[in-house]
């Protein structure tokens, strides 16, 4: 498996009654799969509101995505669970339903409780024993207790079958330190930046692509930014970054950060690409001020349909 380029983490459209809208999901994912520079689709991630989806719904999302994408690009399924046993169940579901790889989330209990030094390795090994699919590690920001140390990253990537990392480090010295060690000791592992809100610096340091929810709304802009950095064209890269910035600000720079996917949904509705911006509780709908701010940025960026 040779993952590269832009890997959008897709949204999960709901009807206004909060049921899965499979038709809207198909249309959303089909659009993404058609974009130049897209090297895969990630579903059942944070952008896909995975923690709000029941087990059967996660399967439904995956089957809709794999049917729609129809092997144009790899499909990576998020696996997010609190226990190893549950993670294994989700992993097996994904393997049985056409996923090409898995993006393994850390159990969120680690955020509050911390984790034993040996726990991550055991967790990944258990999943690896249960399925034959390639695995991607989700690295959380360094200030969270679910983040893996440099040593743990090297450990986890030594496991046969671990092929990629979604790097959300948010500390550029750690990002670079880890990247260099991985390049040297784990050259087969693809490193994807997960820094939606500061792509340019991470791409300049180095990455095999971008695995981000941001690419579910502007895949073509992010693909252009990636290409410019790959070509060493700083001037072009800065121009693309300048174009992205107002959108970055309105989607990611407001508190709470966690409303970013609600904002992306609203934006996609305004762009005519989603029928409803409904999000599942405990997420709440955005207020009018926020919607206006998003609309204004989209208008100024000429992203609204004419």
């Amino acid at each position: 498996m040779n993952l590269h380029g832009i890997l959008p983490a897709c949204l999960c459209p709901f009807t206004p009654e909060l049921a899965l809208d499979r038709a809207a999901l198909a249309s959303h994912v089909d659009f993404l799969a058609r974009q130049a520079g897209v090297g895969g689709i990630v579903c059942n991630g944070h952008a896909g509101e995975v923690s709000s989806l029941a087990r059967a719904e996660r399967v439904a999302v995956l089957t809709t995505v794999t049917e729609t994408v129809a092997r144009r690009v790899p499909v990576i399924a998020g696996v997010s669970a609190e226990s190893t046993a549950e993670a294994v169940e989700h992993a097996q579901d994904a393997e049985a339903n056409g996923a090409d790889a898995l993006l393994v989330f850390p159990p969120h209990v680690w955020l509050r409780m911390g984790k034993n030094e040996r726990a991550p390795r055991e967790f990944f090994r258990a999943i690896r024993r249960a399925v034959r699919l390639p695995l991607a590690i989700f690295q959380y920001p360094v200030w969270t207790r679910a983040s893996y140390s440099t040593g743990q990253l090297l450990d986890l990537t030594a496991i046969d079958g671990v092929v990629a990392i979604k790097m959300g480090t948010r500390d550029m010295i750690r990002y670079e330190t880890d990247l260099r060690l991985l390049r040297e000791h784990r050259p087969h592992v693809a490193v994807f930046t997960s820094h939606d809100e500061y792509l340019l610096p991470t791409l300049v340091v180095g990455a095999d692509g971008c695995l981000v929810g941001f690419a579910a709304i502007v895949p073509e802009l992010i693909a252009s930014l990636f290409a410019a950095v790959q070509e060493g064209d700083l001037k072009a890269a800065r121009a693309h970054a300048d174009r992205l910035f107002p959108l970055t600000q309105v989607l990611y720079h407001r508190e709470p950060f966690g409303d970013c996917h609600s904002r992306i949904k609203e934006a996609l509705v305004m762009m005519g690409r989603l029928p409803s911006a409904a999000v599942r509780p405990p997420l709440v709908a955005l207020d009018d001020d926020e919607r206006r701010a998003i609309g204004a940025v989209l208008r100024a960026a000429a992203l609204l349909p004419r």
Binding site: R170, M172, I173, E176, T177, E197, Y198, L200, P201, V204, V205, G232, D233, L234, K235, R238, F245, Q249, H253
Partner: protein, 306 residues
């Protein structure tokens, strides 16, 4: 007074001391003379944190400024003003003017490290700027020093006060650097943004800067200048080469806990490079332990400086 040319490197200098912990005037003169002669250096900053300002008496700070002005060969000298209250800051700023400084670098009053009232920052800056003749550089502190750092709207407000000519932008983080940089560009384009993001110079330059005012440049003014110019010219390959060369040294100086030793490490490195006779620090700072000296030496060798 003609406007200062900030388009280059302003090393934030260390303060050489004798064995008796007094200002070593001759060593300071020699070091400032050296810095002033490096191509790309456009001015000298004294009495900053790298200069151990908080441990220097008022008289010592005056001496440092006088010696620096005499040795800078006509280049502008900016003196740090780092005090407990407004009245003291004004006195120190007037001292700096009498000593020949062309501007002051205004630090947050010490109590803001604990807590800061809304409105206090603009009030402080207005009080100082209206009481002195010298222009002011705003010192934007690291985001981890939470209450003494300015949020972006406050920073923009400060930048719009008459008399403010530049911001020493040292959030110690890349995302905040970008937010501040872009906001200042948009709302206060006459104010120069001077990158002071010691650990993240390369990436911060990529995001953008009008110049660079930083302690690390007191150690390697030529390399910092070359990096700044390479990024300015869009030469990513050359910039990366310089960044790669300096990275082990950056990490050794700024990343090893305890970071209380960062300026001691700078002085030790300067001793190893033959630019300082001794690395004596004002108490309460302690001499550098031998194993740390070895680490500094190794990092200098990795940077091909030794």
């Amino acid at each position: 007074m003609e406007p200062m040319d900030f388009g280059g490197v302003f090393p934030a200098n260390i303060t050489p001391l004798t064995e008796a912990f007094e200002i070593d005037r001759r060593a300071l003169e020699r070091h400032v003379g050296y810095l002033a002669g490096v191509p790309g250096v456009k001015g000298i900053v004294c009495n900053g944190h790298a200069g151990e300002v908080t441990a220097l008496s008022r008289a010592e700070r005056r001496t440092v400024t006088e010696v620096a002005v005499a040795a800078a060969g006509g280049l502008p000298v900016i003196s740090g003003v780092c005090c407990g209250g407004t009245a003291e800051a004004i006195e120190h700023a007037r001292d700096a003017q009498r000593a020949g400084a062309r501007a002051i670098l205004l630090c947050p009053p010490e109590t803001w490290l604990v807590s800061r009232e809304p409105g206090a920052a603009p009030a402080f800056f207005r009080a100082v700027t209206s009481a002195i003749d010298l222009p002011v550089v705003v010192f934007q502190y690291p985001y981890t020093w939470a209450n003494a750092t300015y949020d972006t709207p406050t920073l923009v407000e400060l930048a719009q006060i008459p008399g403010v000519i530049a911001v020493k932008e040292a959030p110690w983080e890349v995302n905040r650097y970008e937010d501040d940089y872009r906001a200042l560009r948009a709302a206060a384009p006459h104010v120069k943004v001077l990158c002071a993001n010691d650990e993240h110079l390369f990436l911060s330059y990529v995001i953008g800067s009008d110049g660079t005012l930083v302690g690390f440049a007191a150690l390697v003014p030529d390399l910092v200048g070359a990096l700044w110019r390479a990024v300015g010219a869009g030469d990513l390959a050359r910039a990366r080469e310089l960044h790669d060369r300096m990275l082990p040294l950056v990490k050794t100086v700024y990343r090893q806990p305890p970071i209380a030793r960062r300026h001691t490490r700078l002085k030790e490195a300067l001793v190893m490079l033959g630019r300082l006779e001794r690395a004596v620090m004002k108490p309460p700072r302690l001499p550098l332990p031998p194993e740390e000296r070895d680490a500094v030496k190794r990092a200098l060798m990795e940077a091909s400086l030794l």
